[in-house]
C-alpha cells in the first residue's frame, strides 16, 4: 500500500497514532499548516479523494490508498488554480498562515455554499483580515493594481510574497527540513505557586530517543524579561530560562529533548518532580494588600521591580490641577468601574523556533519573532555570548499582534542547542499558547469624569489596576501607555491618574495590539458618552469641544514628552467623517420589535512611535543586472510593510516595485532594528528605507553625471535606466561602469524614532440588540483613520478592518477564564472563540486627508490603533439602544441579557 499525494506515490509509513497533517509535512508538504491541531481553524485543510477535510483530525493510516491533495497540488502545472489567482487579485490574506487552508476550502465550495459564506467558512479562521478581503477574493473582486514605475506610493501594489503565499510555498518558521532535527517538549507546572524540591530525570533519560533533560540546574542564572524593548532596562529582570520557583500553572519546569516529539512527550511524562506548594494569589486587588503571598519577594532592587513587597511591578500617580475642585464645578459626573478581561492574540502560527550551532560554533535561531535584533541581544546577554556569536532571523511570520515582541521560546531553544550541540525545534501547541504564552493585561478601570453644562470637561480621574500575571514582561510600559493617550486626547484642567500593575499567580500578560489603550479607552470613552448624555449633548459634539487641538499640550499621567509633536492632525476630520457616515443612512432596517436599535462612537489617539528610541537600518544597492536589492530590519508578519518598503524605494528611485528585491529581519544583514512593534514598520523602518533610497539615488546620479559627462542637474532616474542629458544608460551598464571605476553603488539609511507624531481613529457602530436573547447585530460599522499619507490604501484599509475585527472578537465573546486554582479553563479555539467569517460585519474605512511632517511621504502608523476605539463604540451603541450600560467585556448575549434583566429590576 502507498500514499498518493498530489499524484505522487509515497512508500513511507505513518506512526500508528499519527495524523495526516504531520505526515504530510514530514513528506515535505509545508503548505499544510498547524493553527490549532484540533480541527477548529482549518489551516490544515486538504482533500481526501476530493473532499475537503481537516488533516489534523484524519488518522494518517486512513489516507492509505486514497488521493490526497494539498495546496501544493491544487494548481495544474504552472497555472494557478482560479481560486489562488482570486486570492492574489484581492490580496485575500495578511500574514498568509491561514491562506492555504482558506483557498483549499474556498475552491471546494459548491454554488449553495458560495451563496452562504458565513456558514461555509465557519471552519476557517483568519486572525488578520477581518474576512472582507477573503470575501472579495471568493466573489472575484480585484483590489490590487500593478504599480508602475515611480508611482509606488499611494497605489494598491500587491504584496511581494503573494504568489508564494497562495501556493503554499511561502516559508514560515518551521517550513524547513533540517537534517537531524531534535524536538523539545516542556514539562509545565501543575501548581500556581510552588518551589521545586527535586526533579528525578532518570526514567525520562531512559526513554528511547531522549537525548537530554534540562532543568534549573542547567539554566543560566542571569535574570531577564521575556519582553523586548530597545532599552532592556524598560522591563524588570524577573525571569530565568528555568527557575526553581513556579509562579503560575503552565510555567516551564523542565525541557526534554529527543529524536521525536513522541519521545520528548514521553520523557516529560516520566519526569518525577517534587514540589513544596506555596500560597498563591490570583486577584490583583488582593495581591496588592499587605500580607498577600509575594511572587517575587526574593528579588532585590537590581531587578527593577517597583515594589516586590507589594507585588507591584509598576505604579503611576499624578495629578494636574485639582480634580476635587473640578468635580465641584461639574454639572454632570459619570463614575463607573469598567473591566477588560484576559484575551489572547491567537496568531495562527504558534510560537516556535529552530536553533542550531553552525560550523563556526555560532548560535543560529530561526524564530517566529517580531524582534530578531533585540532577541539576539538578550540571548547574548543571558548566555554570556558575544553578540556576533548569535544570529536571529525570521522569514515569514504567521501573525504577531505584539505576542512576538517577547522571547518566550528562543531562550529554551538556545539552551537546548548549546547543551546538546544538535539542531533543535520547539513548537507551541495551541493549548500552550493559552496557558504559557502571553495575553492582554486584564484591567479594572475606575473612571470619573465631570463636565459643566456648557459641555466643557472639568475633571477626569482614573484608577487603573492591571494584572500582569506571574511575570512583569511589558507590565510597566503597558500601564504607562494605558494611562497616557486615552486621557491626554482630552483638554481638561484637572486630571488625576493612579495606576497599578500587579503580579498574580496567573499566566503572564504581555504586549498586545494597542498596548494598554484598548482597556482604558473602553472606560474613558464610555464615560465620555455618559457625561454627554447626562448633559443632553451629542457625543461627537461633546468630543469636538473637548479634544486637544493642534499645538495644545497632551497631558495624561504625565505631560507628553517633548518629542511627541503634532506632525499632522486629523482628529477633526475623523470625527466629521464618522458623523457624516452615521447620518447618511439613519433610516435603517426594519426588524421585529424585540430588536432595539442604537448607535455609538468612540475616539482614540496614539503616539506614532513607542518612547525611548526606535531604530532601523536599511541597506540598498544596485545589482549587476540593473535591479535593486535591499535589506530591511523590520519583520513581516502580515502587516504589509514589505510591500510598503518596496513602494517607498520604487517611488524614490523611479522604479517599478517588482524590480526591487528585498530580504529582511536577519541580524546577519548588519545594522540594527528595534523591531516590528509599536506600529513602526512603515513610519520608522520605512523612513530608513526612504533615506537609503534617496542616498542611493543621489549616488547613482552623481556617478552617472561623472560617467556621462552630463551636468548633474540633467541626470534623472527612470525605470531601469538613468537618463543623462537625454541619453538613456541602462542601470546594468551603469553598474558595470561603476565596478570598473571602483565606485560602490550602495547606500544606507537609518532612523532613531524621534521625534514622534500622533495618529487618530474614530469608530462608529449602529447596532440592534435583542431584548429577549441579548444578541447583538451590527448594522453599520465605520471607522475613520488619520493615517497621514496612505502609502498603500488597500493594505491600510485591511489593517483597519483587521484591527476592528480583532477588537470585535474581544468586545463580543473572547475571554480567557481562569478558575479558582489559577488554571486556564478554555485553552482551545472551540472554547475560546475568535471571530469567524459570520461574526464580522463589513467596516466602512475612511481616511482623513493629512500628511505628516515626520513619516515617510507623510505617512503615520496604522496597525495597532484601529483596535482601540472599538469596544467603547460598541458599548455606547448598546447603551443607546437599550438604555443599559455594560461595564465589562465581552458583550456576550448571556451577559447583555443579565444586564437588561438587572436594569429592568
Amino acid at each position: 500500500m502507498t500514499f498518493n499525494i498530489n499524484g505522487k506515490a509515497f512508500a513511507e509509513r505513518p506512526a500508528a497514532g499519527q495524523c495526516l497533517r504531520t505526515f504530510l509535512r514530514a513528506l515535505g508538504h509545508f503548505g499544510v499548516k498547524k493553527g490549532c491541531d484540533a480541527g477548529d481553524c482549518g489551516a490544515c485543510t486538504v482533500y481526501l479523494d476530493g473532499e475537503p477535510v481537516h488533516s489534523c483530525l484524519v488518522p494518517a493510516f486512513r489516507a492509505e490508498g486514497r488521493e490526497v491533495t494539498t495546496i501544493e497540488g491544487l494548481a495544474s502545472g504552472n497555472e494557478l488554480h482560479p481560486m489562488q489567482q482570486a486570492f492574489l487579485d484581492a490580496q485575500g490574506f495578511q500574514c498568509g498562515f491561514c491562506t492555504a487552508g482558506m483557498i483549499m476550502t474556498a475552491a471546494s465550495l459548491n454554488q449553495a455554499q458560495r451563496a452562504d459564506l458565513p456558514r461555509a467558512l465557519k471552519g476557517n479562521l483568519c486572525r488578520c483580515t477581518g474576512y472582507r478581503a477573503i470575501e472579495d477574493a471568493i466573489t472575484g473582486k480585484r483590489d490590487t493594481e500593478d504599480g508602475h514605475a515611480g508611482c509606488g506610493v499611494g497605489h494598491n501594489v500587491p504584496a511581494p510574497a503573494g504568489p508564494d503565499v497562495v501556493t503554499g510555498k511561502a516559508r514560515f518558521t518551521l517550513d524547513v527540513a533540517v537534517e537531524g532535527l531534535r524536538h523539545i517538549k516542556l514539562l509545565r507546572s501543575p501548581h500556581a505557586h510552588a518551589r521545586i524540591r527535586s526533579i528525578d530525570k532518570s526514567e525520562a533519560l531512559q526513554v528511547p530517543g531522549v537525548i537530554a533533560v534540562l532543568t534549573h540546574e542547567d539554566s543560566p542564572k542571569t535574570m531577564f524579561s521575556t519582553a523586548r524593548h530597545q532599552d532592556r532596562a524598560t522591563d524588570a529582570d524577573d525571569t530565568m530560562v528555568l527557575d526553581t520557583v513556579m509562579r503560575y500553572i503552565g510555567q516551564r519546569v523542565a525541557a526534554v529533548i529527543a529524536d521525536t516529539e513522541a519521545a520528548a512527550e514521553e520523557g516529560c511524562r516520566r519526569l518525577k518532580v517534587g514540589y513544596d506548594i506555596l500560597p498563591a494569589v490570583f486577584d490583583p486587588e488582593q495581591a496588592m494588600q499587605p500580607g498577600a503571598p509575594l511572587l517575587h519577594g526574593d528579588k532585590g532592587p537590581d531587578s527593577r521591580i517597583y515594589n516586590a513587597k507589594r507585588n507591584l511591578i509598576h505604579a503611576v500617580h499624578s495629578e494636574f490641577g485639582n480634580v476635587e475642585a473640578g468635580f465641584a464645578q461639574a454639572d454632570a459626573i459619570h463614575e463607573g468601574t469598567y473591566f477588560v478581561p484576559r484575551v489572547q492574540h491567537a496568531h495562527l502560527e504558534t510560537l516556535c523556533a529552530i536553533a542550531w550551532l553552525d560550523a563556526g560554533g555560532r548560535l543560529n535561531v530561526r524564530s517566529s519573532t517580531q524582534v530578531p535584533f533585540l532577541t539576539r541581544q538578550e540571548l547574548a546577554h543571558v548566555f554570556d555570548l558575544a553578540e556576533d556569536k548569535v544570529r536571529v532571523f525570521c522569514e515569514r511570520v504567521g501573525g504577531g499582534f505584539g505576542a512576538k515582541q517577547e522571547m518566550i521560546v528562543e531562550d529554551i531553544a538556545a539552551l537546548a542547542a548549546l547543551k546538546t550541540g544538535k539542531p533543535v525545534k520547539i513548537e507551541f501547541t495551541r493549548e500552550e499558547q493559552f496557558i504559557a504564552a502571553t495575553t492582554r493585561h486584564p484591567m479594572r478601570v475606575h473612571v470619573k469624569i465631570g463636565a459643566a453644562r456648557d459641555g466643557t470637561l472639568t475633571a477626569m480621574q482614573v484608577h487603573v489596576v492591571s494584572n500582569t500575571g506571574a511575570y512583569g514582561n511589558h507590565g510597566g510600559p503597558v500601564l504607562e501607555h494605558a494611562c497616557s493617550e486615552s486621557i491626554s486626547v482630552y483638554r481638561c484642567p484637572n486630571k488625576k491618574v493612579d495606576g497599578f500593575a500587579v503580579y498574580t499567580n496567573t499566566v503572564p500578560a504581555g504586549a498586545f495590539r494597542g498596548y494598554g489603550l484598548p482597556q482604558t479607552s473602553f472606560a474613558v470613552e464610555s464615560a465620555i458618552d455618559e457625561v454627554a448624555r447626562a448633559l443632553g449633548i451629542d457625543a461627537l459634539d461633546f468630543r469636538r469641544r473637548n479634544v486637544v487641538k493642534r499645538g495644545e499640550p497632551m497631558i495624561g499621567a504625565h505631560v507628553s514628552p517633548d518629542d511627541v509633536i503634532y506632525g499632522s492632525y486629523g482628529l477633526d476630520q475623523c470625527l466629521d467623517l464618522v458623523d457624516a457616515a452615521m447620518r447618511s443612512d439613519s433610516a435603517g432596517v426594519i426588524l421585529p420589535p424585540e430588536w432595539l436599535i442604537g448607535q455609538g462612537t468612540a475616539l482614540t489617539m496614539i503616539d506614532t512611535v513607542p518612547p525611548g528610541g526606535h531604530y532601523s537600518d536599511t541597506y540598498i544597492w544596485l545589482e549587476a543586472d540593473g535591479t535593486y536589492a535591499m535589506t530591511i530590519g523590520t519583520a513581516e508578519f502580515g502587516n504589509g510593510t514589505t510591500t510598503v518598503h518596496r513602494q517607498i524605494a520604487a517611488t524614490v528611485l523611479g522604479a517599478t516595485p517588482p524590480h526591487i528585491k528585498l530580504t529582511q529581519s536577519d541580524t546577519d544583514h548588519g545594522g540594527h532594528d528595534t523591531g516590528a512593534y509599536g506600529s513602526t514598520g512603515t513610519v520608522i523602518a520605512g523612513r530608513a528605507t526612504q533615506k537609503a533610497a534617496e542616498a542611493l539615488r543621489d549616488g547613482l546620479l552623481d556617478f552617472a553625471a561623472r560617467h556621462s559627462g552630463a551636468a548633474r542637474a540633467d541626470c534623472a532616474l527612470s525605470d531601469g535606466a538613468v537618463v543623462c542629458d537625454g541619453k538613456s544608460i541602462p542601470l546594468a551598464d551603469l553598474r558595470q561602469a561603476a565596478d570598473v571605476a571602483g565606485v560602490v553603488l550602495s547606500a544606507h539609511g537609518t532612523t532613531n524614532g524621534t521625534p514622534r507624531s500622533v495618529a487618530f481613529n474614530v469608530q462608529g457602530f449602529r447596532v440592534a440588540v435583542n431584548r429577549v436573547s441579548g444578541e447583538i447585530k451590527i448594522l453599520k460599522s465605520v471607522q475613520a483613520a488619520d493615517a497621514g499619507t496612505v502609502i498603500n490604501p488597500m493594505q491600510c484599509r485591511a489593517q483597519v478592518e483587521g484591527g476592528v475585527a480583532q477588537a470585535l472578537g474581544a468586545a463580543l465573546f473572547e475571554e480567557m477564564v481562569i478558575d479558582a486554582n489559577g488554571r486556564v479553563t478554555n485553552p482551545t479555539f472551540r472554547n475560546y472563540r475568535i471571530p469567524a467569517f459570520a461574526d464580522i460585519p463589513r467596516t466602512e474605512v475612511l481616511f482623513a486627508e493629512t500628511s505628516d511632517t515626520l513619516g515617510p511621504f507623510g505617512a503615520k502608523s496604522m496597525s495597532e490603533s484601529p483596535y482601540n476605539p472599538v469596544a467603547a463604540a460598541l458599548g455606547n451603541a448598546i447603551r443607546d439602544a437599550t438604555g443599559v450600560r455594560c461595564y465589562r467585556l465581552p458583550f456576550k448575549p448571556d451577559r447583555v441579557h443579565a444586564a437588561l434583566t438587572a436594569a429592568a429590576g
Binding site: Q18, P52, L121, G123
Partner: protein, 272 residues
C-alpha cells in the same frame, strides 16, 4: 493532532474480529474528537470504519442510522415524503459548531457517545425517540433510549468495551410535526440552548431540551399543554442549568423557557 502514545491500530471487518477490550483502548469513529485533544492514556485504536455498516436504512418502521454514519451522509438523506420531521435532520446538522468539512468525517454515533450537552445528534435522536443498540464485548447487545443514554457531560451508559452499533428512529416520531429553536453566543457557534417540540399525529406533544441542560430533558404530554404547565414541567425537570463558557445558566434557562413558548405557539397550541 498526533496521538503519540498509540502503538497499535486494529481494523476489524466484522464483529468477530473486534479485539478483546483492554485498558487504553478507544473505538475510532470519525476521529474528529479523538484527534482533537491529547489522549495520553490511550495505547490502541479500534477502527470502526472497516466494519462496513450501512450508514442509513430507511424502512416502513423508521430510520436506522449506523453509528459510523457520517454527519454529511445523514444530512444528504432523501427522506420519504411522509416524514414530516425530516427537516430536523438538517436543522440539527447545522447546529454543529463544526464546519461541513468535519461533517465529512464526524459520525452520528461519535457525537452521541461524546455526550456533550450541545451534541446536536443527541438533540435530534432524543427528540425523535431514538433508541441506541449497544454491543457488549461478550457478544450480547442491549437497547437504550438516547434520552437515557446520555447521563451528563462526557458521561453515558456505555460500559467498558461496549460499542454503539446504531440508532433507530421510529416512524411514529418521524411523521410528527416539529419545531426547532437554537441559540448560541456567537453566529453558528456552539449551542447554548437547543429545544425541539414534536406534535405527533395522535396529538401527543414532546419537548426535548438539550444544550442548556447537562443531559437531555424530555417532557411528554398526551396533548399540547398550556404554557404555564409546560414552563412548570421544565422548571421541575431541570435542577441545574448547564454552566460553561458557552452560556450563563440564567440565560440558558431564560432562552429555554422562551423557546418553549415559541414552540407551543408554532405548533398551534397555547395562547400567548
Amino acid at each position: 493532532m498526533d496521538l503519540n502514545t498509540i502503538t497499535e491500530v486494529t481494523r476489524p471487518k466484522a464483529r468477530g474480529e473486534l479485539a478483546p477490550w483492554r485498558e487504553g483502548d478507544a473505538f475510532l469513529g470519525g476521529g474528529t474528537w479523538l484527534f482533537s485533544e491529547p489522549q495520553p492514556k490511550l495505547t490502541r485504536l479500534i477502527d470502526l470504519s472497516m466494519l462496513g455498516w450501512q450508514p442509513l436504512t430507511v424502512s416502513a418502521d423508521g430510520l436506522a442510522i449506523a453509528a459510523t454514519c457520517t454527519v454529511a451522509q445523514l444530512d444528504a438523506l432523501t427522506p420519504p415524503v411522509e416524514w414530516t420531521a425530516a427537516p430536523l435532520i438538517g436543522q440539527c446538522c447545522r447546529a454543529f459548531l463544526a464546519s461541513f468539512k468535519i461533517w465529512n468525517a464526524a459520525t452520528v454515533g461519535g457525537n452521541i457517545c461524546m455526550s456533550l450537552p450541545a451534541g446536536p445528534m443527541i438533540s435530534l435522536t432524543a427528540a425523535l425517540d431514538g433508541v441506541a443498540t449497544l454491543w457488549a464485548p461478550d457478544g450480547t447487545e442491549r437497547r437504550v433510549t438516547i434520552a437515557d443514554f446520555v447521563k451528563g457531560p462526557l458521561s453515558n451508559a456505555l460500559r467498558d468495551g461496549e460499542l454503539m452499533r446504531s440508532i433507530f428512529l421510529p416512524t411514529a416520531a418521524l411523521t410528527a410535526r416539529t419545531a426547532f429553536r437554537q441559540i448560541s453566543l456567537a453566529h453558528h457557534g456552539r449551542s447554548g440552548a437547543l429545544v425541539i417540540g414534536r406534535l405527533s399525529v395522535n396529538g401527543a406533544f414532546a419537548l426535548t431540551v438539550t444544550a442548556s441542560t447537562p443531559r437531555p430533558v424530555k417532557l411528554e404530554f398526551d396533548t399540547l399543554p398550556s404554557l404555564e404547565i409546560l414552563h412548570a414541567r421544565i422548571e421541575a425537570a431541570v435542577a441545574d442549568w448547564y454552566d460553561d463558557i458557552h452560556g450563563l445558566p440564567a440565560w440558558r434557562r431564560h432562552m429555554t423557557l422562551h423557546f418553549a413558548q415559541e414552540i407551543l405557539a408554532e405548533l398551534g397550541g397555547a395562547a400567548r
